[in-house]
Subunit: 403 residues, 2 copies
Amino acid sequence: MVHVAGGRLLRTQGVTAPAGFRGAGIAAGIKKSGKSDLALVLNEGPDLAAAGVFTLNKVKAAPVLWSQQVLTTGKLRAVVLNSGGANACTGAGGFQDAHKTAEEVASALSNWGTETGAIEVAVCSTGLIGDRLPMDKLIPGVTEVVHELAGGISGGTDAAYAIMTTDTVPKQASLHHANKWNVGGMAKGAGMLAPALATMLCVVTTDAVATAEQLDTALRAATHLSFDRLDVDGATSTNDTVLLLASGASGVTPTQDELNAAVFAVCDDLADQLMADAEGVTKRVKVTVRGAASESDALIGARTIARDSLVKTALFGSDPNWGRVLAAVGIAPIELDPDRISVSFNGSPVCIDGVGAPGAREVDLSGIDIELDIDLGIGNESVSIRTTDLSHAYVEENSAYSS
Amino acid sequence: MVHVAGGRLLRTQGVTAPAGFRGAGIAAGIKKSGKSDLALVLNEGPDLAAAGVFTLNKVKAAPVLWSQQVLTTGKLRAVVLNSGGANACTGAGGFQDAHKTAEEVASALSNWGTETGAIEVAVCSTGLIGDRLPMDKLIPGVTEVVHELAGGISGGTDAAYAIMTTDTVPKQASLHHANKWNVGGMAKGAGMLAPALATMLCVVTTDAVATAEQLDTALRAATHLSFDRLDVDGATSTNDTVLLLASGASGVTPTQDELNAAVFAVCDDLADQLMADAEGVTKRVKVTVRGAASESDALIGARTIARDSLVKTALFGSDPNWGRVLAAVGIAPIELDPDRISVSFNGSPVCIDGVGAPGAREVDLSGIDIELDIDLGIGNESVSIRTTDLSHAYVEENSAYSS
């Protein structure tokens, strides 16, 4: 537990930490392994305000197209999420499947006593791209998951388990504000993980009173500085979705700044958990580019280094091969002067003004956490990117995913 | 042997295939392994015309800065190349080392009977970035390599061996034109291999009569379509250099078109050899994007797919995971319509108009050569990129390079 953003941050609770939310997760048979694969998050209100950000990939999955449409109302009653299939590149039939799923959730919730329209239900999917979902499993699963909707925090944890694919652990975080309101969230994502305005799948909830516009502001600010600065493998998913739902159940109306800080704290912690559990990870790496002429230059520079296969394999080998960092940043389309670049690894200078520092080859990178600090020496802007190394396990996991 | 560009193409000869050139390669002790590490290519004229293209990396090695300066004269007597050290990120001292090397070559050649100035000597280096070259080994090596300058083709082969780093085979090609003039070339490069206007190191020679301007035109056209379309790991070296030297010794003056075609044929064949020997390669992959709105869109699309870690690991696993190809092209900053993209693997359709084709998961990719064909369906432009898979061997080789 840490104190941040005016409250306490926990990892034992997620979307059901705030008042007004229920969650559930079940094994509906979508995954051949029989593992949990269908999650539901329900907002019991009194408010139904919501906001969302989605993948910038031009190839968008059917559930993304559906949820973008739904979010234009600024209102969400529920989010249904499945693992075991991305429902991407599935054509008109795939979109009908997403729509049908929302209708079934709405109908099951209405039967359960919570009047709901399909237009109030966001849909998220994750898994292999290109196959239709097994609707014969999913539709009965929807009825079942509604019946499992539990009060209390356990339902949120069940939901967090049900959205995992190659994740090895569920990711949850909650922020309990001193002023008696809360933010909670869950996320999944271990590969195809270079979110562009969102991460793989993430649902954030709050019992604060806030309008859809305030939620949108808070969510965009938070994802810009958290998920957007996570880059495991340079690959942006077709299904990236982050949703923020507010129940207003605390009766507390935080200021926009308080809301921003709390939503960011939860998103940032979830981004950290995503990095730590990324496919094949053996090193948790923070790449900071400072002294840049602009924030955009710092971001592009840090991202270019974070994506460089030669830098990432060197880190896997605990090899302080700083020349690869110079070569990587040198191809970034940013303003730089090669003779003013300085680099340090874990705080030890390895390159000063473009030339190797004494002892650079002896810097110890054998630990799990590595900080690469690149000072361009020409400005005042700084950006950090979270990434990982490129390991045998990454190759192994990704060479045998669909088969 | 193949017939191409009005002549015969061989891989048994390189830079000394054209008349007027001598070559040599020796072990000067720069590499700790004791392997061959110093090469010299001499143009005996009568002409000394030359052109060069260099890395676009903003972090340029000292020998690149030196050779760029030298090439402003449009004239080269000799090229000295060392493996065992890149002389990059070595500051003013490193530049002095490159200059000193050129001076030593000029002096040794003058003593040997060929009057030469340092300004007529290009310098190329390859190896680990960040360390100064062992000049106490290199300088005596220069005298020795001049004494080894052999007539005939064997000197060229010795030179091709001396520039290898993680290459497992030397790369040579020669084009013997029906009109009695020739082009020869050698290249090295196995990693940090996404040439931007050049490849790691490449020297091309011809005994045609041509001006520096004609050579420059031919070389830029050739590299644009050969080395620039090779992308093994997205990493552009600090040392990329391609030089073209003409001796005029054949007495034949080809047309610009003939010269272009012959230089391209040699460069294209060398690019093919570089792909086939890339670090960790288990698959030789050609990614073609066709039906693009512009050539630039086709190039960016093909390169984005060729660099995608998830596509490359799937290919390593012989996994026809076409969804990853869609996800990759979807993040390329190009014009596309997700519902018009069709993909085939080795000629078998796997995705038609953005939706999976029947039998897509059963396409056999177990062979060494794989062709990915992506039709955007919105225009007429097409570009192919050579790349490789991302294998355990790539990770292994690059996680233990400098240590």
